[in-house]
Symmetry: C2
Subunit: 639 residues, 2 copies
C-alpha cells in the first residue's frame, strides 16, 4: 500500500488484523510482553506467564472436617442405640473443624451426637473410617497443575496458589500504552474553548478503555497538525511503550498526517478498514512498537479500540480476549446497512412481552451518547445488507441482562419530564431504569402496536375533533386499542422558541412567513409537527411559505439549540427547552402529554414504580419547577 495514497482503502477487519500481525512480525515486535515475578497478593488481575504447579498439598495435613471428637473407627464397632459404646478420655480427642487429626485417630463424630457419661464419650452408632476427615491434598495435591499459562488471576486463584505453596507468581508485565492526541482545534480537558475548538475527550476515553484492559497508560499533550512534530513525538513515544495510539489525523483530509507519519517512521500496514463507524483507521509499526491511528469521531475511536487494540493486548498478554456476553433480540425496526462494511449498531434493549427487543440508536460516528445509552451492540456483517423489522439478531450485551429485563421501555415523543422521571426512579431504587427513545408521538404508538415498548409518550392533536391522542389509538393500534390504557403525564405549554428577548417581536403563527425568518421544524410524526400543521392550516398558510419547514430536528432541545446557535429564528417547542438554552418563549397553546400503556402493562410490577412516582407530590413539584408544566392531572387514568 502506497503511503501517498490520498484515499484510504477499506480492508475487512479480520484481514486488517492479519496485516498488522504480519507487519509486527516483520519488524521483530515482541510476541508476548516480558514476564516478571510478583508476590502472590500483588498478582490480582494479572495474567500468568507460566503454568502454576502445586508444590504443597492443601490441606497440608489430615484435618477434622467437623466440630466433634476424633476417634479410632475400629473402637466404635458394634455401637447402636441399644448397645452404646463408651470411649474413655484417652480414646478420643475433642476437635474443631480444621484441627489436625490426632495420631491414631481416623474418624470424627460430630459434637451434636456425642453424649457423655462422666468423662466417657457415649456413641450410639458405629463410625466408618475417615468419616468427617479432610484428607491431606483433598483440595490440591503437590505436583498438580493448579493454573495454566495465560490465565487472568481471580481472587480465589490467588488464595489457592498460596495454599498450594506459591509465594510469587510469574505474570506478564502490564502493557504500556501511550496515547497521543493530535489536531489544531483540540484543547485539553478543562480549557476555555474559542469558537471552533473542541475538548480532547478521546484521550480520556481511550485511556480509561486501556486501563480497564489492565494497561499502564500515559497521555501525551495534544500535538497540532504538524507532520514533522508528530513524527518526532511518535518516534520517541513508540520507543517507550507496547502500543502507541495516535488520535485523529487518520483520515485522508488536508490535516490528516497519521498514515504518512507511520509510513515515514516505520511500516504502514493498513489505512482504512471496512468497519462502520470507524473506517479511517491506521495500523502500523514504528520501531518495534505497534501503532494504532484512531479516528477522531468518538464512537469510531471507542470501537476502534475494541476491534483492534483489545485483540492485540490480549495476544501480547497471552490471554484469551475478553468477549462480551451475547443474547438474541428482536429487531424493533428495519435496519439498512452498507454492503462491504461491518456495521456496529448501538441498540437499546428491553424485555417486552417476554421478548428481548433491540431498538437501534442514532448511528452517527459523532453521537457518543449512542454508546452511553446503548445496552448492546449489533454487528451487521459486511456481507449482509441489513435486517427486516422483527428479525432475530445476535447482540453483544453492554449491560447486565437482569438489569435490562427490569427496564421500563418508553418510545415516543420526547419530553423532559420523562428524563426527570428516569432520574427520580433510579434514585429511589437502583434496579429501576426508565429508558426512553425518541421517535415522535406517532412513532411511539406504532412501536407500542408492534410490541416494542411498554409505554408511548404522545401529544397528537386530531385536527377534526381537537382532541389529543385518543382519536389516534384506534387508527394506529387497531384491535389492541381497546386494551391499551392512557395515563396523563402533564399539561404543558407549547410556543415559539425565539432569540432571547424576542427581538423580532414574533407573536403568532402567521409571523413565521416573514421574509428572512428561518424556521426549524420537528421530524414527521412528531406531535409538535402535527401541531404546527394544524396551526398553519387554521391560519390558512401553506407549509412551503415557511422557510425552513423542511429542516427537521429530532427533539425540542435540538430545536432550541438551532435557535440558540443563530441557525434559525424560530421553532415550535416546549417552554422547558427555551429555558435550557436561555431563549425567549412565545406561548401558543397548552396541550396534554399522555403515556399510552401497552395492553397488560398497566398492572405489571415492572411499571408500578412509575405510577407511584407520578402520584408523588415531590415529583410533581419538581416537574412544575421546570416551567411550562402543570401537574393537576398527572397520574390520572384518562382511558
Amino acid at each position: 500500500m502506497s503511503e501517498n495514497s490520498p484515499y484510504i482503502r477499506d480492508v475487512p477487519a479480520a484481514r486488517a488484523l492479519e496485516a498488522w500481525r504480519a507487519a509486527r512480525e516483520a519488524a521483530g515486535c515482541a510476541e508476548r510482553l516480558p514476564a516478571c515475578l510478583v508476590p502472590v497478593p500483588d498478582a490480582a488481575g494479572r495474567i500468568t506467564a507460566a503454568p502454576v504447579w502445586a508444590t504443597r498439598s492443601s490441606p497440608p495435613f489430615d484435618a477434622a472436617g467437623m466440630d466433634g471428637i476424633a476417634v479410632r473407627s475400629a473402637d466404635t464397632a458394634g455401637a447402636s442405640e441399644t448397645t452404646p459404646v463408651l470411649l474413655p478420655p484417652d480414646a478420643f480427642d475433642v476437635v474443631d473443624t480444621g484441627d489436625p487429626m490426632p495420631p491414631g485417630r481416623d474418624a470424627v463424630v460430630i459434637r451434636e451426637v456425642v453424649h457423655y457419661s462422666a468423662k466417657d464419650a457415649e456413641l450410639r452408632a458405629a463410625v466408618p473410617p475417615y468419616q468427617h476427615v479432610r484428607s491431606i491434598g483433598e483440595d490440591v495435591s503437590a505436583g498438580e497443575l493448579l493454573l495454566p499459562e495465560g490465565h487472568r488471576l481471580r481472587p480465589a486463584d490467588l488464595a489457592a496458589a498460596v495454599a498450594a505453596g506459591a509465594e510469587q507468581l510469574l505474570v506478564r508485565d502490564r502493557p504500556k500504552v501511550v496515547i497521543l492526541p493530535t489536531g489544531d482545534e483540540v484543547r485539553p480537558i478543562g480549557s476555555e474553548l474559542a469558537p471552533g475548538e473542541i475538548l480532547d475527550t478521546n484521550s480520556l476515553m481511550l485511556a480509561e478503555q486501556a486501563r480497564e484492559a489492565g494497561c499502564e497508560v500515559r497521555c501525551l499533550p495534544v500535538e497540532p497538525d504538524d507532520p514533522a512534530r508528530i513524527t518526532a513525538v511518535v518516534e520517541q513515544a513508540a520507543a517507550e511503550c507496547d502500543l502507541l495510539i495516535v488520535i485523529a489525523g487518520s483520515s485522508a483530509g488536508r490535516d490528516d498526517y497519521t498514515a504518512r507519519v507511520v509510513a515515514a517512521a516505520g511500516t504502514l500496514a493498513v489505512h482504512g478498514v471496512a468497519v462502520r463507524p470507524g473506517h479511517p483507521v491506521v495500523l502500523g509499526v514504528v520501531g518495534r512498537t505497534p501503532v494504532l491511528g484512531a479516528p477522531g469521531y468518538p464512537v469510531s475511536a471507542a470501537l476502534t479500540f475494541d476491534i483492534f487494540a483489545l485483540p492485540l493486548l490480549a495476544e501480547l498478554s497471552g490471554a484469551p480476549p475478553g468477549r462480551r456476553p451475547q443474547a438474541r433480540a428482536r429487531l424493533a425496526r428495519k435496519l439498512a446497512s452498507p454492503l462491504g462494511m461491518d456495521d456496529w449498531v448501538r441498540v437499546r434493549l428491553g424485555m417486552v412481552n417476554e421478548t428481548l427487543v433491540a431498538t437501534p440508536l442514532p448511528r452517527g460516528a459523532g453521537v457518543l451518547t449512542s454508546l452511553v445509552r446503548a445496552d448492546g451492540l449489533l454487528v451487521v456483517p459486511a456481507g449482509v445488507e441489513g435486517h427486516h423489522a422483527g428479525a432475530t439478531v445476535p447482540v453483544e450485551l453492554l449491560r447486565g441482562l437482569t438489569e435490562i429485563e427490569q427496564t421500563i421501555v418508553a418510545i415516543g415523543s420526547h419530553d423532559l419530564v420523562l428524563d426527570l422521571a428516569a432520574s427520580a426512579l433510579r434514585a429511589e431504587d437502583p434496579l429501576v431504569t426508565l429508558a426512553s427513545s425518541n421517535a415522535g408521538s406517532l412513532g411511539g404508538l406504532v412501536a407500542l402496536r408492534d410490541g416494542l415498548c411498554h409505554v408511548a409518550g404522545s401529544h397528537l392533536l386530531d385536527p377534526v375533533t381537537g382532541e389529543y391522542t385518543l382519536p389516534y389509538l384506534d387508527r394506529v393500534l387497531g384491535g389492541a386499542a381497546a386494551d391499551a390504557a392512557v395515563i396523563r403525564l402533564v399539561h404543558r405549554e407549547q410556543g415559539l422558541l425565539v432569540a432571547p428577548g424576542n427581538p423580532l417581536r414574533l407573536g403568532e403563527i402567521a409571523d413565521l412567513t416573514r421574509s428572512g425568518l428561518r424556521y426549524v421544524n420537528r421530524q414527521r410524526g412528531a406531535g409538535t409537527r402535527v401541531l404546527l400543521d394544524v396551526l398553519l392550516a387554521q391560519a390558512g398558510i401553506a407549509p412551503e411559505a415557511v422557510d425552513g419547514y423542511a429542516r427537521e430536528e429530532p427533539t425540542h432541545l435540538a430545536v432550541a439549540a438551532a435557535v440558540a446557535a443563530g441557525r434559525a429564528e424560530a421553532g415550535l417547542g416546549i417552554m422547558a427547552a427555551a429555558r435550557a438554552f436561555g431563549l425567549g418563549f412565545v406561548p401558543v397553546t397548552r396541550e396534554p402529554y399522555d403515556l399510552v400503556v401497552a395492553p397488560g402493562a398497566l398492572e405489571s410490577p415492572r411499571l408500578a414504580p412509575l405510577w407511584a412516582l407520578l402520584r408523588s407530590g415531590r415529583f410533581q413539584a419538581s416537574v412544575e419547577e421546570l416551567g411550562g408544566y402543570s401537574c393537576e392531572e398527572t397520574g390520572r387514568r384518562i382511558r
Copy 2:
C-alpha cells in the same frame, strides 16, 4: 435470636438479607455512602450520586461532517452532469471534518466529487440544505439528562460528560471494607508453618473480591481465638469502615466467638443461613457499621461474600448489583441436594455435540480448587432435592461463553500428561483450553457414551484378554463404539508408591497383606483399581486381606499424598506421582494410557491443536522428563 444459642439456625438467604437490613435500619446505619465531587477523569468506575444533566451542547457548533467544501445549498440549485454550476472562490470554503461551518454556508460537498476549473469549484449535482452538516447538539443538547443517578461510569460516559459540560461529577465514596481474620491456627501469608497451622489465604481472597467490587480494603492482623481481644478490635474497626468482615469463628465450635462478639458489641441479626457451602454465617451491626462473619472454609468464605456482601455494597452505592451472565446447560450426572438449603454447586462447562454440558465439581467447602476450576455456578434452590442426569439447568457463568465453547472436555482417568498437555496448549494459543475432570477410566467411557466429553482418558485392563481399553469400548459405548477413535497418549510405569527408600522392602503385590501395612486404594472404576484387582486375582489374594482396600482416593497424587503423610504404607500409582512427593517407587507393570475420542470429534477443529501437540517432539520430551513415561507411540491412532 439468643446470642447464647449454641447451635446455629439456618435462615433462608433472602430472609437473612432482610433481617440484616432491618438491623441496619434499627441501628441507624447510613442508607447510602457519602457523595463527593471528583474531576471527571478521576471518576472512572465510580457510581454517580446524582443525575448528570448536560450543560453544554455537543458538538458545540454546527460542524462539517465530511472533508470537502462548505457551500450555500441555494447556490447549487439546478446543477447536473450536463449543467454544472461553477462556484467562485468567495462562494465556498474548503473544510475538514469537524470544522465549524463558515457563516452563510449550510451544506458540505465531499472533496471526492468537487472538480476545479481554475479557482472555481465545479459541481455536477445540486446539494440539499444541511447535507453533511453535524448540527449543534447532534450528540447531546444542553438541558438533556445524560446519566442517571446510581450509574457506574464507563469510559464513554466520562467522555460524554466532559463534552456535555461537566468538569466534576458527584459520585459515591468507595466503600471502606475492613477484614479481620481470626483463629489460633491461622498464620499470615509468608509464614513458616508449624504442624497444624494454616495460612491466612481467606483475607487475601476476600480483600481482592472487595477490591474487584470497587472497595477500599484494609486487612487487620490475625487475632487469636480470644473473645475479649476480638471484641475490642471489632469495636474499633467498625467505627472506621462501611463493612467489617470477620473471618472464621462464625460457627458454633468451642473457639467460635464471632456471633457472641457481635451480639455483645452490637446487634446479632442472623447466625446461620440456609446456604451450602457457607451456612455458618453471622450478620449483624456494631455501632453503625454492618458486620459480616464469614466461615473459615474458603469456598464458603468466597460465596458468602457474593451472597451477602455484594448486595450490601451495591445498596450502599445506590447501584444495581452486578449479576453474572447466565446460560442453560445439560447436567452431566445426577445431583442430590439437601432440602432446605440453597446449594451452590461449582460446575465445569463444555460444548459437546452442540449442547452446553455442566459437570459438577467436588462440593466440599474446603475444596477451593473447585472454585478455581469452575466455569459456572449452579444453584439448587432450598426447595429442590436435586436434578436428574441430563436435566437442563440454569448456570451463572464464571468464564466467557466463547472461551467455554472452545474448550476441549476430557473426562476419565487422571494422568499428569493431561495437565502437561493443558498447559502446553494454552501457552501455544490462549484460546485453547483442555479441561480434564477426573472420574476414573470407566467413568470417562460412560461420560463419552452419554455425550458429556470429547475425549476420555483410559487405561482399563481386561483380565480375560490382557488387553487394555479396547475390549471395554463395545461393552460401554455399545453401538457408538464403531465410530469412536482411540489415540495412544503414553506408555507409563505403574507401581507401588512407598516411603522414601522403601524401608519396608516391599517388592510384590503379595507384600500388601503384611500385618500392620496399610494400603490406600483408588476409587471404583479407576483403571489403577482394576489393575490392582487383576494383580490380586493373579496372586490369589482376596481384597479383604489388604488392610485399607476400602480407603479410596480419587487421584494418583492423592494416593501419594496419603503415603507421604504416613497415613498408609503403600498405594498403587504412577511414577510421576511418587516423584512429586519424593516417595519410593516399586515398579509393577508398564501399561498403555489412551484417549478414547467421541464419534466425530477426531476431525473437529476444536481438537486439532491437541493432536498436533501430541506429535510435537518438544512435548514428548517434556513428558518423558516427568519420569516413568514412554512416548514411542504417543499420538498414534490405535483404532
